[in-house]
């Protein structure tokens, strides 16, 4: 594993009016690592991730990607670096089919004359979608199924597969299990591990601490816009995490 972290956020601060959402937060995501990001409501988790994915600009601080300083000023730049975001409410077009969703906004253009007419390559998109689902061991009957006919777990799987379709190096998941059944949660967590096996680094935000403990290599705790804990996931218990979250422990005071 290289020494340089994949993503490094240094001294990130962000205010919304008088509200200091983030204060001098440091985050490092190493290669092929699952980082759990937790904290109570309004701790700044989502704000931090929106800065990384280009939705917000930080007031202060810098972001390094693969050791190089970058200026992420929009979602497209973040995506071009190889950072993908999976949203909790499955940002999918439900009446379109699985393949269309996986390639949404990045349809494969057809070669030759078709390109002239701005056509997309339906077959290639279907084939690559099938290969992708297979690679992630996601069981869906057909890539031509409309997303609205899938279960919640399958939809989240499609959303996650989408992130991998474009060789993401880092995938951010904001509450990926929030609206799923218990059975589907287990499957999505398995999928997180599958992603890791494919060499992807993952930041996962969740209120479900047992999920975080189950999949994370390292866990970072935010509280009121500050980093209060950052530790390897070894012998950690839910009570340890809660102590950080409620302010009983603070490693960076």
């Amino acid at each position: 594993m290289p020494e340089v972290p994949l993503v490094e956020m240094r001294g990130i601060s962000k205010s919304f009016g008088a509200v200091k959402a983030l204060q001098n937060v440091e985050l490092a995501l190493t290669h092929n690592e699952v980082l759990g990001l937790i904290g109570d409501n309004a701790a700044g988790k989502s704000t931090l991730m929106k800065i990384l994915s280009g939705v917000y600009l930080p007031d202060e601080g810098e972001i390094l990607f693969e050791g190089k300083k970058t200026h992420i000023t929009g979602p497209e730049e973040s995506r071009n670096l190889g950072i993908e975001m999976v949203y909790q409410d499955f940002a999918l077009a439900n009446k379109q089919d699985v393949a269309s969703n996986i390639f949404l906004g990045r349809e494969i253009p057809k070669g030759g004359l078709g390109r002239l007419f701005n056509m997309f390559d339906r077959r290639k998109m279907d084939r690559e979608s099938e290969a992708l689902l297979q690679r992630l061991k996601i069981e869906i009957d057909s890539v031509r199924l409309k997303v609205e006919r899938l279960s919640g777990g399958q939809r989240q799987a499609v959303a996650i597969a989408r992130s991998l379709a474009f060789n993401a190096k880092a995938v951010i998941m904001d509450e990926p299990t929030a609206s799923l059944s218990v059975a589907a949660i287990g499957k999505v967590l398995e999928l997180v591990k599958q992603l890791k096996e494919h060499g992807v680094s993952i930041i996962i935000i969740s209120h479900r601490l047992e999920d975080i403990l189950h999949v994370s290599d390292r866990i970072m705790v935010l509280r009121r816009g500050r980093r209060v804990g950052d530790m390897q996931n070894e012998d950690l218990k839910i009570t340890d995490l809660v102590e950080y979250m409620v302010g009983a422990r603070d490693d960076f005071a």
Binding site: Y87, N94, S100, G105, S142, K146, S151, G186
Partner: protein
């Protein structure tokens, strides 16, 4: 909660064991959307055949003649062509109420230019430009300033109709006894009155060609995909890098342009630019789109259903006229049919409005 099994190499089965989501059939089963569409198409065709049979029985001398049928189909074509544009707008979860007014004004502008001595080509171009221009106005207000399409196009519907009356002073263009030419030249009239093989009117040909082009555009091009995605989930589309404002702008411009084409063909058929031309057509057009299977919620829809539904509505009007019903009462019958059609569709699809 999570089974501690060996993770790697294990197939994750996302199928819901409760069967609540029924995903059955072969792995490469291709697929429901097309089947539903086919079924809808079949349903509409069946209704059309039954109506045809009933009208043939009730009015054997007047209904089943090539003259009458192609007349009906010609009327269908003006509405269908505008409805192609409306269909794209509704796929983006928008609505355009100004289509009837735009049809009227585009025809008038063509007629005015030609009656004023311009060549036919310029006249046609001014009609098209009129349609595209008001489409652009709708599109800019809706996409860039983010105003609700219903209220914006309600406004332009009134403005454009007012222009129809104001510019003409309420007179048809050209009118006998008023300045300018007495009638529009043959080179223009042929657009609406010409026939292929002495049977198929030009407007019907235009409808079919435009229908094919737009179907291709919607189903096969990347922009077409983005039109569906924009209506389906605008936020997801934006996150995916689709410029949804530009997509919306485009569909309103196309809708205006297509309504312009419909209006020009109608005017060429009638021989005059009528200030009251295409009044209340927006209702027929929207009804054709919705009965044709396009959801007002956006994200789905296609053109063949639009043509069938437009034909269906015209047949009802034609049938009522042939049967000698009082024209004042016709809207009651039409409205009832629209509601009935929508309900049949609603229940056959098993879909509830959320």
């Amino acid at each position: 909660m999570v089974e501690e099994n060996e993770m790697s190499g294990k197939q994750i089965d996302f199928r819901d064991p409760s069967g609540q989501v029924s995903i059955t059939g072969a792995r490469h089963h291709r697929v429901s959307a097309l089947e539903i569409l086919k079924m809808r198409g079949v349903g509409l065709i069946l209704v059309l055949i039954i109506m045809g049979a009933v009208l043939t029985f009730l009015a054997p001398k007047s209904f089943p003649t090539a003259y009458n049928l192609f007349n009906v189909l010609r009327d269908v074509s003006y509405i269908s062509i505008s409805a192609f544009g409306e269909c794209m707008v509704i796929i983006t979860a928008g609505i355009d109420l100004s289509v009837g007014s735009i049809m009227g004004l585009s025809g008038i502008m063509s007629a005015l230019a030609i009656a004023g001595g311009m060549p036919t080509l310029i006249g046609v171009f001014s009609g098209l430009a009129t349609g595209a221009f008001f489409g652009l106005v709708n599109g800019l207000l809706i996409s860039k300033i983010r105003m609700p399409p219903f209220i914006i196009t309600l406004g332009t519907m009134s403005i454009v109709r007012g222009l129809c009356y104001g510019i003409t002073g309420g007179w048809p263009i050209p009118s006998k006894g008023r300045a300018g030419v007495q009638s529009l030249p043959e080179s223009f009239l042929i657009l609406g009155r010409g026939m292929v093989f002495d049977t198929v009117p030009y407007p019907v040909i235009f409808m079919l060609v435009l229908g094919l082009i737009i179907s291709f555009f919607l189903a096969r091009t990347i922009t077409g995909r983005h039109i569906y995605a924009t209506g389906d989930n605008p936020q997801a589309s934006r996150f995916a890098g689709i410029r949804t404002e530009n997509i919306k702008l485009l569909v309103y411009i196309l809708c205006g342009l297509l309504s312009g084409i419909g209006g020009i063909l109608m005017t060429a058929r009638l021989g005059t630019g009528d200030p009251r031309g295409a009044v209340s057509y927006e209702l027929d057009i929207i009804a054709a789109v919705v009965l044709g299977g396009t959801s007002l919620m956006g994200g789905e829809g296609s053109l063949p259903g639009v043509i069938l539904a437009a034909a269906f509505m015209r047949l009802i009007r034609n049938g009522l006229t042939l049967l000698g019903s009082d024209p004042y009462w016709q809207p009651v019958a039409i409205g009832a049919v629209i509601i009935a059609g929508a309900m049949i569709d609603h229940f056959s699809k098993g879909r509830r409005v959320e």
